[in-house]
Symmetry: C2
C-alpha cells in the first residue's frame, strides 16, 4: 500500500474514557487513530498503542500533534478556544470546529445564540455585576441558578442562589476568580432528557432515541433508553436535537441535554462529542455513539441508531468513599446476569466516574435492577 492510499490518521485530543471507548470502536472499522494524552497512565493510553504524551493545554504539544494527523477530534471541550482558532488558521481540520466547540465551551454564548435563533432555553441573563443578578432574581423569582459560563461539569460550577445577598457574595467571588456567570430561572424540572445526534461535515445526520438521564447532585447516575415519555414529546426532542446540530454545525457526536417542564422542552447543556448519556448505545443501539463518532468525523456513512432491545439502562460506576478499585469486585459483578461492564482504568476517587454498566431487556425495571446491582457491587457494595 502506498503512502498516498493510506486512510487518514485521526487524532483524538485527550485520553479519557471517551477516547478509550472511541479507540475500542476504531478496532473494528480498522481506521487509524492517534491519541494526545496528558499522562502516560490515562484511560485511553492503557489500551491503545499510538499515543503522544503531551498536554492538550500546551499549544506546542497540540500543534505538534495536529501536524502529524490528518484531522483532529476531541475527548473533551477544555482546549483553549484561542488554540483551536490558531490551529484552524494554520489549516488544520477540527471536527468539531472551533466555532462548534464554542457552544459547549461558553454556556453564555450558547444561551444567547440559541435564544436569538428561537430555540427553547431557560430564562437567563449574562451577569456583569451583582445588580444584574439581583434584577434577574427580582424578575424571575428567588432562588435563581447561577452557572459558571466556562469549565463547569458534573455539578461543579453551578450554584443555587437564595437571595440578593448570596448573589452579591457569589458575584464578588466569581469576579475575583475570573469566573463569568450566567443566571437562570430555577425550573420545576419533571425529567432531564438527552438526545444524541451523529452528524457528518456534509450535514447528513442521524438521531438516537431520546433517553432520560437521572441526576443526583448534578452528576448523571443512570440513563434509561428509551425515555419513558409520550411519543409526541420524544419526537419533539429528536427534532430539537437535530436543529441544535444544524445551528451549531456539529461534526461528530452531539449530545443535547434538555429539561422537560410542563410538557415543554428547553435546552440545558450540549456536548459536542460522545457523551455519558450515550454509553448505553454500545450494546443498546445497532451502532454505538463511539462508532458513529468515528464515522461522522471521518465523513463515512452513518450507522443505524435503532435500539437493540425494548429497554437499555446504563448505570455509572462512581468511586466510593474508600477508593476501592472496581476491578477487585469484577467476580461479584459478573455474577449478575446479562450485564455489560465497562471499566475505565481510572483511580477510584470518591464520586469520580470510573466505569459504567449496561443491561438490556424487555422490562426496563428488570434491566435497571440488574445494572444497578452490578454497579453497586463494582463500587464495593453487597
Amino acid at each position: 500500500m502506498t503512502q498516498e492510499s493510506r486512510p487518514p490518521l485521526l487524532g483524538i485530543v485527550g485520553g479519557g474514557q471517551l477516547a478509550r471507548m472511541t479507540v475500542q470502536a476504531a478496532i473494528g472499522l480498522g481506521v487509524r487513530v492517534r491519541v494526545l494524552a496528558a499522562r502516560p497512565d490515562d484511560s485511553a493510553v492503557q489500551v491503545w498503542p499510538d499515543v503522544i504524551v503531551g498536554s492538550p493545554d500546551s499549544f506546542d504539544a497540540l500543534s505538534g500533534f495536529a501536524a502529524g494527523c490528518d484531522l483532529l477530534t476531541f475527548d473533551h471541550e477544555l482546549v483553549d478556544p484561542e488554540h483551536l482558532a490558531a490551529l484552524e488558521a494554520a489549516g488544520r481540520s477540527l471536527r468539531p470546529s472551533a466555532a462548534t466547540q464554542r457552544f459547549a465551551q461558553d454556556k453564555g454564548y450558547q444561551r444567547e445564540r440559541f435564544a436569538a435563533l428561537g430555540l427553547p432555553v431557560p430564562a437567563h441573563r449574562l451577569i456583569a455585576g451583582a445588580d444584574d443578578l439581583r434584577a434577574f432574581g427580582d424578575e424571575h423569582g428567588w432562588p435563581v441558578v447561577a452557572k459558571a459560563r466556562r469549565g463547569g461539569y458534573d455539578g461543579r460550577g453551578v450554584w443555587i442562589v437564595a437571595n440578593p445577598e448570596e448573589g452579591q457574595t457569589l458575584v464578588q467571588r466569581g469576579s475575583a476568580a475570573g469566573v463569568h456567570l450566567l443566571a437562570e430561572r430555577r425550573l420545576a424540572i419533571e425529567r432531564e432528557l438527552a438526545v444524541l445526534v451523529a452528524r457528518r461535515p456534509t450535514g447528513e445526520a442521524v438521531v438516537y432515541p431520546v433517553v432520560e438521564t437521572v441526576q443526583v447532585d448534578g452528576i448523571c447516575r443512570e440513563v434509561l433508553a428509551p425515555a419513558p415519555v409520550p411519543r409526541p414529546l420524544a419526537a419533539e426532542a429528536g427534532r430539537l436535537a437535530l436543529r441544535v446540530a444544524d445551528v451549531t454545525d456539529a461534526a461528530g457526536m452531539l449530545a443535547v441535554e434538555m429539561f422537560a417542564v410542563d410538557g415543554e422542552l428547553s435546552v440545558n447543556e450540549i456536548a459536542v462529542r460522545p457523551h455519558n448519556s450515550g454509553h448505553f448505545s454500545i450494546e443498546g443501539a445497532v451502532t454505538s455513539q463511539f462508532e458513529n463518532h468515528l464515522r461522522a468525523v471521518l465523513d463515512l456513512p452513518l450507522g443505524d441508531t435503532s435500539l437493540t432491545a425494548p429497554a437499555a439502562v446504563m448505570v455509572n460506576v462512581l468511586g466510593g468513599p474508600h477508593g476501592t478499585d472496581p476491578r477487585a469486585n469484577l467476580t461479584a459483578a459478573l455474577t449478575v446476569p446479562g450485564v455489560h461492564v465497562h471499566l475505565y482504568g481510572k483511580e477510584a476517587w470518591p464520586g469520580r466516574k470510573v466505569g459504567h454498566v449496561t443491561a438490556l431487556g424487555d422490562d426496563p425495571e428488570d434491566a435497571r435492577g440488574r445494572a444497578r446491582r452490578a454497579a453497586a457491587l463494582l463500587m464495593g457494595g453487597e
Copy 2:
C-alpha cells in the same frame, strides 16, 4: 494500588485477529493483557500497547514471555507441544493446558480418544503406510478423505483420494515431508454445524446456540446463527459440545465443528480458542466469545450466551484477486444498513481472511443479504 492487589496479567501467545478481538473485549472488563506477536505489524499489535515482539515458535521467546505473565492463553494451536509441556513443567499456567491443546493439534489423537470415549466421530484410521490407506478405502469405499494429522487449516492439509494408486502417491509424499496422515470415510454431509462452549478451569461451562457454517473449498464463508435445524438436533449438538468440553478439560473458548449426516452428528474438528464460527457473537450474543474467553481463562463468572436477535449472520471478508485493501472500500460497505464491520488490519492476499461482517435481524435471509453485500463491497465488488 499495591503490587500485590494488581489483577493478574494474562499473556496471549500470537497476535492475529483472534488476539485483536480479544484485546478489544479486554478494554471493557479492564483486565490486564499482554500479547506475544511474531511481527511488529501483526493484527493485534496495531491496536494494543502491551506487546512483546518475538516468535511463538521460539522456546526462548515463549518462556521469557511466560515468565512476565501470570497465565497464558493462545491465539492459535501451533505452539510446539514440547514447548507447552516444558512451560507446564516450569510451573506456568496454560489455559487451555498442553493436554487440552493436543486434541486440537493432533487430529489423529483426537479421533482415537473421542472414539474410545464413545463420542461420535467419522470412521477413520491412522495411516502408517500405503497399505493402511488401501485397506481403509476398500472397507469404507473410495474416494476417501486423507488429512494431515497436524497443522492443516482452512482447507489446507486435506485431500480427496480417488483410488489406491493416488493413495500410494500421497502416502509416499507425506512420508517424505514428515506429514502423518489420517484417513476418513467421505460423508454425504447435509450441513456443517458448530457449537461454542466457554469453560472455566473449575469446569463451569456455558454453551452458545448451535450455528451453521457454510464452507467453500474448505474455508468458512458464512455462519448462520441459529442453525436452521430441528430443535432436537440443536439440543443434541449442545450436549455433544459440552461433553467434548469435559473430556478435553477445556479452559477458555472451545469450538466443536460437527457434520450432520442423516440427522446424526459427528465431531469433525475442534478449536480450543475463540473461533471464526463464533465471530457472530460480538453483536449476535449477549456476551461475545472474546469476552467469555477472557472470563473463562481468568476464572471469572461466565456471561449469557443467548442470541440478541432472531437471526445473526456473519460473512467473512476474504482477500480478492487484486489484493484490494478493504479499508479503501469502507465508505461503500457502510452504506449497507445495520452491518457491523470488523477489519483485521491484514494484507489482503487472495483468499486470506482479512475481516468479517455481521448483520442481525428478524429475517435470516435479509440479514444474510446485507452481510453478504457489505462483505462483497469490502472485497472490491459492486
